[in-house]
């Protein structure tokens, strides 16, 4: 028998290479720090409530539009609620809805892209026509209609349909329904190329079935575009959620979201512009940070690719 040979290549892998390239992207790195800080602050919302001795939803009309003070560091809103605490709670909702809907659309897009790319032929044609069709729709008007649908008319009990918590799930579902297309296209493209690689043939020659080939051999090799597209889509989802909530169709009060804190802001621009500034500024900062993060990950995963 031949001599035993040990591997010659250094043990560090793609992960370290990725980390090194990502660290070169200073904006992305800064964005990651900002997002982590935001997430921590949002998670600490109950602690802030406790520290300040206020509650996010307690209305106190005697202190409407109070200026910043020790008790209310950011002042109060038109119902006398503490702005800082509401901003922190709003951050929880915006981040949670953004990430949940982005993940849900990533799952839908991955399944559709894998099926289309792996099976090809008629199924591929059908699924891609569907994708093109969804892409070609005017997104926002459609979302407004979907958000306005009366849930009791599709058989939901009235008390459930009006439950503000349900508005959270509704946002995640309808946004995921329209935003899976980018991931689907990317995954299909990547699947088409991975499918022709010899290790997929090798698995088939071993006797692996389609499910195993897709799950074990193709999916792990198309993860990078999924991660990048999902990160980039979190920003978009937060924008969609905020505009729907702003229009009164998204997250329902008393649950605070950055979008619904601006509902009725047109009346406040004269009396309390700071109430208008903060929620939007936080949306802006979060979305831009997710976009930089996704951009940096894209550069790090595929240094040859130029910007989108």
């Amino acid at each position: 028998m031949t001599d035993i040979v040990r591997p010659t290549a250094p043990p560090d892998g793609m992960l370290i290479l990725f980390a090194r390239r990502f660290a070169d992207h200073r904006l992305a790195l800064a964005s990651l720090v900002v997002l982590l800080a935001l997430a921590l602050l949002a998670a600490a919302a109950p602690a802030a409530e406790w520290l300040l001795g206020v509650s996010a939803n307690s209305v106190n009309l005697t202190i409407r539009f109070a200026p910043p003070s020790l008790a209310h560091p950011f002042g109060t809103d038109e119902l006398g609620r503490d702005l800082l605490v509401r901003l922190l709670y709003g951050g929880r909702i915006s981040l949670a809805v953004g990430i949940a809907a982005a993940l849900a659309s990533a799952v839908i897009g991955t399944i559709i892209g894998l099926l289309a790319g792996y099976y090809g032929g008629k199924l591929d044609a059908l699924l891609m026509r569907l994708t093109d069709g969804v892409i070609a729709l005017p997104l926002l008007p459609l979302l407004i209609v979907l958000a306005a649908v009366d849930l009791t008319k599709i058989g939901l009990p009235a008390e459930l349909a009006r439950d503000p918590d349900v508005s959270l799930y509704r946002m995640v579902v309808i946004i995921a329904l329209v935003s899976w297309t980018t991931v689907a296209r990317l995954v299909r493209g990547a699947t088409l190329s991975v499918r022709e690689r010899e290790f997929v043939l090798a698995a088939a020659a071993c006797g692996a079935g389609p499910l195993r080939i897709m799950a074990v051999h193709i999916l792990p090799n198309v993860v990078s575009p999924i991660i990048v597209a999902t990160t980039l889509s979190v920003g978009n989802v937060i924008l969609l959620e905020s505009v729907l909530s702003f229009l009164g169709l998204g997250i329902q009060p008393p649950i605070a979201s950055w979008g619904n804190m601006l509902t009725g802001a047109q009346e406040l621009i004269w009396s309390a512009p700071q109430l208008v500034f903060w929620p939007g500024a936080l949306i802006f900062a979060t979305v831009i940070a997710f976009n930089f993060l996704g951009d940096g990950m894209q550069d790090a995963l595929d240094p040859r690719a130029i910007t989108r």
Binding site: T2, I4, R197, E198, A202, C206, G207, P220
Partner: protein, 323 residues
Amino acid sequence: MTAPLLSAEGLFKHFPLRGGLFGRRAGKVHALNGIDFAIWPGRTLALVGESGCGKTTAARAVAGLIRPDAGRLLFRGKDVATASGNDRKSARRAMQMVFQDPYGSLNPRLNVNAIVAEPLVIHGIGDGAARRDRVAEVLAQVGIDPRDGERYPHEFSGGQRQRIAIARALAPEPELIIADEPLSALDVSIQSQVLNLLKDIQAARGLAFLFITHDLAVVDYFADEVAVMYLGHIVERAPRAALFAAPRHPYTRTLLAAAPRPGGGKRRPGAVPAGEVPSPIDPPAGCPFHPRCPRAVSACRETMPILSGGDHAFACHNPEPVP
């Protein structure tokens, strides 16, 4: 002679070609035009030919990766396509494949243990511990330290990767290994090591090989029987010694003449085939080799000669004389 382990009878495969506006069918590639061959237990059949002759398609048809349009594959006398689920599964398990490119044939996201264990998992062989033992055993057999099983393919050299691919093929204890140009992606210095490994394994376990190659030196060293393919046809089929000593088909002769033989000096006289290989999309009528053949006669332009002649079969209207 005993019964063949695997025999192929009249395998046909044409790939549709799409092109032009709206993907109209623009023609088809005649990859396999009805080929027959047999492989006996513990012996090696080499399929030889230039690129595009259909030898890879033949290997993939045997491995079950493509379904032939017509023809039968018999494993131990049973038709693989119509066999019952259990028979088919055990036939698939008994035939494992090694691919040309060891950089492409190993999933970069799986570690070596997972790669080698895959056929065991798929065929439900053994439990976790038994699989681990089996993986370590075959890795040691191919010369990979089992302690490196947690590593990933990119940490290994090309030759080492091909050893891992061979270990994967060996894991489910197959009876036949289909090796599709397993050496041609490797450095010349590594090729002989891997070839020796294959030969050792064959000797130790009595494995049969379907060995696809264009390298006649490898054929001379490794094969028991040789089948020469040209544009989807087997044009000559013979035991190795007979083929090298007295090729009857003019194509085989030009192939042998063009190939440098180990030991050197013994280059046979004979013209290198003139002209290009005709396109498999639109093969010529009659014998597909006639446009390039120095011995072509009028019959060659009209009818395809039939492969005949028992042990040393050839398909030629005007064969080379026996020296």
